[in-house]
Amino acid sequence: MHLSLRAVAVRGPGLPCWDAAIPVLRDPALWTDGPVILPPLTALPRNERRRAGPISRLALSVAEEVCAQAGMDPAALSAVFSSSNGDGGVIDSILHTLTAPDVAVSPTQFHNSVHNAAAGYWTIGHGSISPATALGCFDWSFGAGFLNAAAEAVTENHPVLFVAYDMPIPGPIGTVRVTPVSFACAFILDPDLNGPAVARLTLTYDASMDDVTDLPADPELRALALANPAARSLAFLMLLALRKAGYVHAGCLNGTLCMETLPC
């Protein structure tokens, strides 16, 4: 599959946005750990802003950033949101509630518990009727999600916003599904190979290969890449930040997606 990468966004520890991340990804010695700060969701109406949980704020922060970078109208973009855990905080809270027979589940928590909550808030915030889908592919959520977004872009011949995002889960469920940090990244994949772009991509999927994900050589960024399913994107982000031609692999189940980049 051949696509133009129109823009990139990122939010994670020590990586507050794409522009600030570029020097760090070029020279990992500059990386310092730090909290992931979630900006307010200015695009949402006040009631929705109050209801949207931190996972939606995380996902929408990179979705807004990447659309601004590309200068594209969010309402005109088909979107693919991919996350392993969804809103773990809401799930943990509902699971606690359910242990008591007579306590009512919070209606707001229940509607935020759907895996497509972030996708829903995204379309509500922009009054968009464009398609938005929500995927859950455990540790393969970045590779499988990117593959899915690319397949949509080439088949439908329209640009696709892809967002990968995950957060730590609190409570007992978080002791068995351990996600140490918050991380999100977003990309706009455009089938138009002649328009403006950060890079041209050649994507080759092979189901019969092992599910290899390339990781950064730097030990700290390597640990970060393993600390969140969305951070499996780090080797790809580093390649883009370096503005070098090359390729990295993103694991899927089954197989692997080879992501070849040619900077524009």
């Binding site: 509630t97 518990s113 009054g127 009727i129 859950g136 592919c137 397949a151 088949t155």
Partner: protein, 395 residues
Amino acid sequence: MIPLVVTAGTVRSAIGAGLAETRESLLDRRSGLTPCDFAGVKTGYMGRVAGIEQHSLPSELLSFDCRNNRLADMTLQQDGFIDAVADARAFYGASRIAVITGTSTSGILSSEEAYARRNIASGTMPADFQEEYTQDLFSLPRYVAAALGLTGPLLTVSNACASSSRAFIDAWHWIAAGLCDAVVVGGADSLCGMTLRGFASLSLIASGPTRPCDAMRDGISVGEGAGFVLLERACARSISPMARMMGFGVSSDGYHMSSPDPAGRGAMAAMTQALNRASLTPRDIGYINLHGTGTLTNDAMEDGAVFKVFGDGTPCSSTKGWTGHTLGASGIIEVLFAIQTLETGVLPGCLNVQTVDPAFRSQIITANENTAPRAILSNAFGFGGTNCSLVIGAA
């Protein structure tokens, strides 16, 4: 759109195990709803599948054991589905067949049971609990692929109640993009405290059996079920298809998390897009299987949107009165109902309806009618404002 066909399929819900039982229940207008008594919830009705508690997964896949994967496994074992997939696997190769499933809650009942047994002092889960293979959304396609011996790409779509309908669109993208040659498309959702008590918190559970489109409708009955089809390019193999997948439409509401846009802007866009992709006009659609959940707002919105696209000339009904609302599985289950309707020629009129809402303007049918439709539109809408319409054609 590239021509796609369904070459095998199977379904399980409260109205039956497999296609033959399902067909009989639809023809006999036999509902599967019973008074709810699940996870401590004793209000309203439910569409429960019998025998899940007694079902065992194969020993080599026991780590996947949870209500949802048992339901999926029971379903896979019907209607010669495993053999049909084995034939396709021999033809295409195991790595060329993908599995794309829709589910809203996967195996979360296992987590509910584990929370009841958690160590309150240490805040830890029981040692035998395996989140990755039960509650996790990806557990379902991993189980299905393992049970069917498939090694192609896997995906879980979790778009609330439109999950397994949306899975068809992703399957089309994957086949068209050459990532695979065929896809096992389907889904499963099973009863759990989270959905029973969650919908109750929104006052969306009907006091009696759900009665979509009735003037006095008062909500949903939660059901469980699963269904799977084998989707592939037309004429790729010399076998007779069950049905053709002719068109897909997908959209968002961009309106509210848990209430549909009363103007039906997104629903109309999905239906219109599905017709356009199928190169059909509204008059070509012989029956519409509504999302028809039985809530005041969904059914009113859907009626308005259907009337604006189709007028009052196309018979419509909801089959939720048979199965209850099977949430993320409702799309695939209703695709298989549509295939049964294409084969029998008999439209299943809404169950439990005394008086159709007098404000409705589309042609709601409340008795079975033998009209032999050649193409059916199937709607699914979900929380988050996610809409999906599929056009299924006779083989």
